[in-house]
């Protein structure tokens, strides 16, 4: 058995570009997911009553459907209905946000609900409005508790961007497939890319573990 790692060395710029797309797509989709999740969580907690079952239905549906299915549906089926098509990158961003925002919404709702009701009552007794209560009392405390969970959302986003290869987003996974196919060296290429993914993900998960230990006792009232 002989190994030839030259396809990786020869194409390092191509791989570096793919790595850039992976990092950009995962960070942007983690941020949009958390923002959308915050919006959904607030609507679920304080929005009109009729909206609640709709949001719960959305969240549970996203927990039931694989992200692959959401990706191909957004990319291939939505253009047929709306007549407008997205480039792969934007379709992937939309699909990942749609999927991960449901998880983020649950995390944020649990974070807000974990703040003792006494805090809410005290703030309202002081004459704060609901918006002030959220901005000055609930969200600052909840955010600290949710930090590790936000880190987990980032790791989920990084792993899920690899699935975007099925709609030909030129991220690391997709470029690995391309080079593996052209060079007939799939073992070397996929092994190298595996190490690359591990090197991105491992520090993030370590950081998340550290945050969990650090934050576990904080904000506990």
């Amino acid at each position: 058995m002989e190994f030839d790692f030259s396809p990786i060395a020869d194409n390092w710029r191509f791989f570096a570009g793919g790595l850039g797309v992976t990092v950009a797509l995962s960070i942007i989709s983690a941020v949009t997911s958390i923002l959308a999740g915050l919006f959904i969580a607030l609507l679920r907690l304080y929005g009109p009553g009729w909206l609640r079952p709709v949001l719960v239905f959305y969240i549970d549906s996203m927990r039931a459907i694989p992200v692959l299915v959401v990706l191909v549906w957004i990319y291939f089926a939505v253009p047929l209905i709306t007549g407008m098509s997205f480039p792969p990158f934007w379709a992937a961003l939309l699909a990942l946000t749609l999927h991960i925002a449901a998880y983020a919404a649950e995390v944020i709702r649990a974070g807000i609900e974990s703040i003792r009701p006494g805090q809410t009552r005290a703030a309202l007794a002081l004459g704060m409005s609901r918006a002030q209560l959220l901005r000055k009392v609930l969200l600052p405390q909840a955010t600290i508790r949710m930090l590790p969970a936000f880190g987990s959302i980032l790791t989920i986003a990084i792993k899920d961007t690899a699935i975007a290869t099925v709609i030909a987003v030129p991220e690391l996974m997709h470029r690995a497939e391309t080079v593996a196919g052209q060079s007939y060296r799939p073992v070397e290429v996929f092994t190298a890319v595996m190490l690359a993914y591990f090197c991105i993900l491992f520090p993030v998960t370590r950081l998340v573990d550290r945050l969990y230990q650090r934050v576990a006792h904080m904000g506990r009232s």
Partner: protein, 219 residues
Amino acid sequence: MNFDWSVIWTHRSALLEGAALTVGLTVLTMLLAVPGGIVLALMRLSSNKLARSASLAFVEFFRNLPLILVIYWAFYVMPMAFNVQFSPITTALVALVLNVSAYNAETFRAGINSIRKGQMEAALAIGMSRRQAMFKVVIPQAARRILPVIASTWVSLFKDTSLVSVIAVGELAYTAMQIRAQTFRVLEMLTAMAALYWLMGYPQAKLVDWIHRKYGVKE
């Protein structure tokens, strides 16, 4: 724009077979990954340094990789390493078991660690061997705490089986996309695929919520 939804009905048997394979893969993977996770967790908690670091390395490695990459990797590396051609289903099963075992190992380890030390000490004090104390005292208590987490992993696994479609395993996602390519009924087939996953996944997600409410650890 005209849609022809009858294409779903004409291909119903293929779709149902795909769905059956999706469920079969989920069940089989879990059946293998639960013992796998237990072995890895016990290795991690053992006093043998080599076993401990081997388990740690395995778990951290597979938890920190996208599953789709592990699937591709298994597809190309396994035939080379063992010099035998494996069927796509075997390859898929290996990749899924590697991934889920790593997650299960963490679940079991955390569950066992969550049982107070005093339980183990008391069991040893009344003359049980370490093995007896582990299997008769610690693990039965830990099992109740582990169950909700395993249930969540189950639902993730059910969804993740869709990824093995990339190596042409004929489960639901692959079957639906094949029919899409043959009939050009893109919207209809993709919607049918999403609907079938939803029909199977939604009750499972609800069941998991119920298990969490019933058994979940409350602070």
